[in-house]
C-alpha cells in the first residue's frame, strides 16, 4: 500500500541451498509497533538484519519512505538497532556510548551533551553518564542500548530480542516502558521476539514467521481468534486441534456432524478451539452451541478456574479451561460429561 513507511517486497535470502528468507512481503505503517514472531531459525532476525543493512538480500527489495535502500550501506540508513546482547562499546562511558551516533553526524558538542542528558533521563538512567557498561546490570545496559539508538531519532527502531536476557519480572516492566516510549516518540518499532506473550502485550500488529515465510500478519486479536493455519494456532496461545473428516462439505467427528462449513478443505480438516472457550455441562438454551460428549481424564484446580483434560470418543484429548461451576466441580475422573462452546469460537483450518 502506498504511504507505508517500510515496504518489504518479495525478500529472499539464500545461504547456499538454504533459504533463510523465502519471499517475505510486509508493509509497515508510520508509527506502528510491529512484532516479528517465530521460533529460532524462522528468519525473523535475518529479516531485521536486512532492514538494518547487515544482510544483503538475494532477491527482493527493502523500501523506506518509498526509496529502495538495498544498496544503501548500514551507516547511511535511517534506522537504528537495539542489539540482542546490547553491543555497548566497553571502552566508552555510558555518555560516550550514547553520544556515538550524534557525533557521527557532526552535531555541536553542547547540543550533543544536552541530547545525551535528555535521552538518559527518558530511559531513567540520568546520572549514569560517567559509568562504564561493565559497571551496570543487564537491565541498565538494556536501557543504555535503547538510549543510544533513540538519541538519533531514527525513522525506524529495530529491536532484536532486546529483553531476552532479562529475568521475567524486569522483562514485564521493560515491556510496559518500551510500549510507553513507543507512544512518546512516535517512531516505528520493529521488534523481533520468540515470546508470543511479549508480542501480544506490546505490538500493534504481529507477523508470525515460519521457515522464512510470513505465516500470518495481523493484530494480536486477529491472530489469536482467527489463525489461518495449524502452525499459527499452535504457536500463539494454547489451542485444541481436533482432527475431523469432511462429509458433504461439512466437518464430521466420528458419527456426529459439526456445524462448520468445510467445503474445499479436502477430505480432512482441523477444528481449532481455545481451551478457555470450552464449557462443561449442559449448554444454555438459545444460541448455537457445539456440543461434544467426552470422558474426564484429569482435573487440575487452578484457583480461579479448573483445567480439565477430557477424551473424545475418538480418543483425542482436549483441554478445557473452565471457570468454577457445578458441572466442573463435580465432574470426577472417568465421568462422562458434555462439552460445549459457542459455534463462532471454533475455526476450521485446512490441512
Amino acid at each position: 500500500m502506498a504511504g507505508d513507511l517500510i515496504e518489504i517486497v518479495g525478500l529472499v535470502k539464500r545461504y547456499g541451498a538454504v533459504a533463510a528468507l523465502d519471499g517475505v512481503s510486509i508493509n509497515v505503517r508510520q508509527g506502528e509497533f510491529l512484532a516479528l514472531l517465530g521460533p529460532s531459525g524462522c528468519g525473523k532476525t535475518t529479516l531485521l538484519r536486512s532492514i538494518a543493512g547487515f544482510v544483503e538480500p538475494t532477491e527482493g527489495q527493502v523500501r523506506i519512505g518509498g526509496k529502495v535502500i538495498n544498496d544503501v550501506p548500514p551507516h547511511e540508513r535511517p534506522v537504528n538497532t537495539v542489539f540482542q546482547n546490547y553491543a555497548l562499546f566497553p571502552h566508552m562511558t555510558v555518555a560516550e556510548n550514547v553520544a556515538f551516533g550524534p557525533r557521527r553526524k557532526g552535531m555541536p558538542k553542547a547540543e550533543i551533551a544536552k541530547k545525551v542528558a535528555e535521552v538518559l533521563a527518558m530511559v531513567g538512567m540520568d546520572g549514569y553518564g560517567e559509568r562504564y557498561p561493565r559497571q551496570l546490570s543487564g537491565g541498565q545496559q538494556q536501557r543504555i542500548a535503547l538510549a543510544r539508538a533513540i538519541v538519533n531519532q531514527p525513522q525506524v527502531l529495530l529491536l532484536d530480542e532486546p529483553l531476552g536476557a532479562l529475568d521475567l519480572k524486569l522483562r514485564k516492566r521493560m515491556q510496559v516502558e518500551l510500549k510507553r516510549l513507543h507512544g512518546q516518540l512516535g517512531i516505528t518499532f520493529i521488534y523481533v521476539t520468540h515470546d508470543q506473550e511479549e508480542a501480544l502485550a506490546m505490538a500493534d500488529r504481529i507477523a508470525v514467521m515460519n521457515q522464512g515465510k510470513v505465516a500470518q500478519i495481523g493484530t494480536g486479536q486477529d491472530i489469536y481468534r482467527a489463525p489461518n493455519s495449524r502452525y499459527v494456532a499452535d504457536f500463539i496461545g494454547e489451542a485444541n486441534l481436533i482432527e475431523c473428516a469432511v462429509k458433504d462439505g461439512r466437518l464430521a467427528l466420528g458419527d456426529a456432524a459439526l456445524p462448520y462449513d468445510a467445503a474445499g478443505a479436502g477430505a480432512h480438516a482441523t477444528l481449532m478451539i481455545r481451551p478457555e472457550d470450552i464449557q462443561l455441562g449442559a449448554p444454555p438454551s438459545g444460541g448455537t452451541p457445539v456440543v461434544l460428549k467426552a470422558t474426564v481424564r484429569d482435573k487440575v484446580f487452578l484457583g480461579s478456574a479448573w483445567r480439565v483434560y477430557a477424551a473424545l470418543p475418538s480418543g483425542q484429548e482436549i483441554a478445557a479451561h473452565s471457570a468454577s461451576g457445578e458441572a466442573v466441580d463435580y465432574a470426577a475422573k472417568g465421568a462422562a460429561i458434555e462439552l460445549w462452546w459457542p459455534r463462532d469460537r471454533g475455526r476450521v483450518l485446512a490441512q
Binding site: A52, P74, N80, T81, A87, F89, H91, F100, R104
Partner: protein, 279 residues
C-alpha cells in the same frame, strides 16, 4: 574456584622454583660479578663508571634501542593489517589455518640460516637490488646490507609472527556486533575501525610491541650477521667480553646495564599508556 592448599603450593611452587634456579640465581651471579675487578678480583664500581663515562657504550646502547624501536614499528605496521585481514577478511577456516602455519613455520628454522638468507637477498647483486634496478626505482644497486636498515629488515621478519599472533588473538575476541553497532549508529567503516576496533585491540598492540621490543633488544645472531661487523649492538659487545676478551666482570656489567635500561624504558612506556587510558 576453590583449590586445595597443597595443589596451590604445587602449582605456584614449581614455576617459582624453576624461575629461582634458572633465572634469579644466574642473574644474581651476574649482578655480583659486575662489581668485581677483572685484574685483582676486588670489589669496585669501576666497571659502571667506565660505561657511564665512555661515549662508545652510550652509542651502542642508543643503537640497540633505536634498532629495536624501528623493528617494533615496522612489525606493527606490517603485522597489524595482516592480523586484521586474517581475522576479518579470510572467511575460510582452512585458508586461515594455512596462513597461520605459513606465519609460524619460519620460527622452526634457525635464525642463523634465516640471517644468511637475508645476506643473499639484500646484497648488491641480491634479489631486492635486482628488482629495484629492473623496475627503474634506482640507477645502481643501493647499499642495504650491513646498514641499520638491513638489520631492521632482517629482525622485523623474525619478529613478525609474535606481533601477528598476539594482535590476531585479541582481534578474534572482539565481538563483531560492536562493529555492527558502530555502523548502525552512522559510522563509516573507517571510522568504526578507528573508534571501536583499534582501541579495543590496543591490549594486543601493547603486548605484541613489548614482546617484539624486548626480543629485539636482546637479539644477537641476526644483528651480528647482518651488521657484517660494521654496527655494534649491546648483545654483540657482551658476547665479545665473555667470549673474546674473557673479561667476565665487564661483560656482566654491560648485561646489567642493558637489562636495567630496558626495564626503565618499558616502565616508562607502560606508565604513559596508563596515564593515557585514564585521561
Amino acid at each position: 574456584m576453590r583449590i586445595n592448599p597443597w595443589s596451590a603450593v604445587l602449582l605456584l611452587g614449581v614455576p617459582v622454583a624453576f624461575l629461582f634456579i634458572f633465572f634469579i640465581v644466574p642473574f644474581g651471579t651476574v649482578a655480583v660479578a659486575s662489581f668485581r675487578m677483572p685484574a685483582d678480583g676486588g670489589w669496585s664500581a669501576a666497571n659502571y663508571v667506565k660505561i657511564a663515562t665512555d661515549g662508545y657504550y652510550w652509542g651502542a646502547l642508543y643503537l640497540t634501542f633505536k634498532i629495536a624501536l624501528w623493528v617494533t614499528l615496522l612489525v606493527l605496521v606490517v603485522g597489524y593489517p595482516l592480523a586484521y585481514t586474517i581475522t576479518y577478511n579470510v572467511r575460510s577456516t582452512l585458508l586461515r589455518r594455512i596462513i597461520y602455519i605459513v606465519i609460524v613455520t619460519p620460527l622452526f628454522t634457525s635464525s642463523i640460516v634465516r640471517a644468511f638468507g637475508w645476506l643473499v637477498l639484500l646484497g648488491r647483486k641480491g634479489m631486492v637490488n635486482d628488482t629495484l634496478v629492473a623496475l627503474d626505482f634506482v640507477d645502481k644497486p643501493v647499499q642495504i646490507l650491513f646498514t641499520e636498515g638491513g638489520i631492521v629488515i632482517g629482525m622485523a621478519y623474525i619478529m613478525l609472527p609474535f606481533m601477528v599472533l598476539t594482535v590476531a588473538s585479541i582481534l578474534q575476541n572482539i565481538n563483531t556486533s560492536l562493529l555492527e553497532a558502530a555502523r548502525d549508529l552512522g559510522a563509516h567503516p573507517i571510522v568504526a575501525f578507528l573508534k571501536v576496533t583499534f582501541p579495543l585491540s590496543l591490549p594486543g598492540v601493547i603486548a605484541g610491541s613489548l614482546i617484539v621490543f624486548t626480543l629485539s633488544v636482546s637479539a644477537y645472531v641476526t644483528p651480528s650477521i647482518l651488521s657484517g661487523g660494521k654496527k655494534t649492538v649491546m648483545s654483540m659487545l657482551i658476547y665479545q667480553q665473555y667470549a673474546a676478551t674473557l673479561n667476565f666482570p665487564f661483560g656482566a656489567t654491560l648485561a646489567v646495564a642493558l637489562l636495567v635500561s630496558t626495564l626503565l624504558l618499558i616502565a616508562g612506556y607502560l606508565l604513559v599508556i596508563e596515564r593515557h587510558a585514564k585521561g
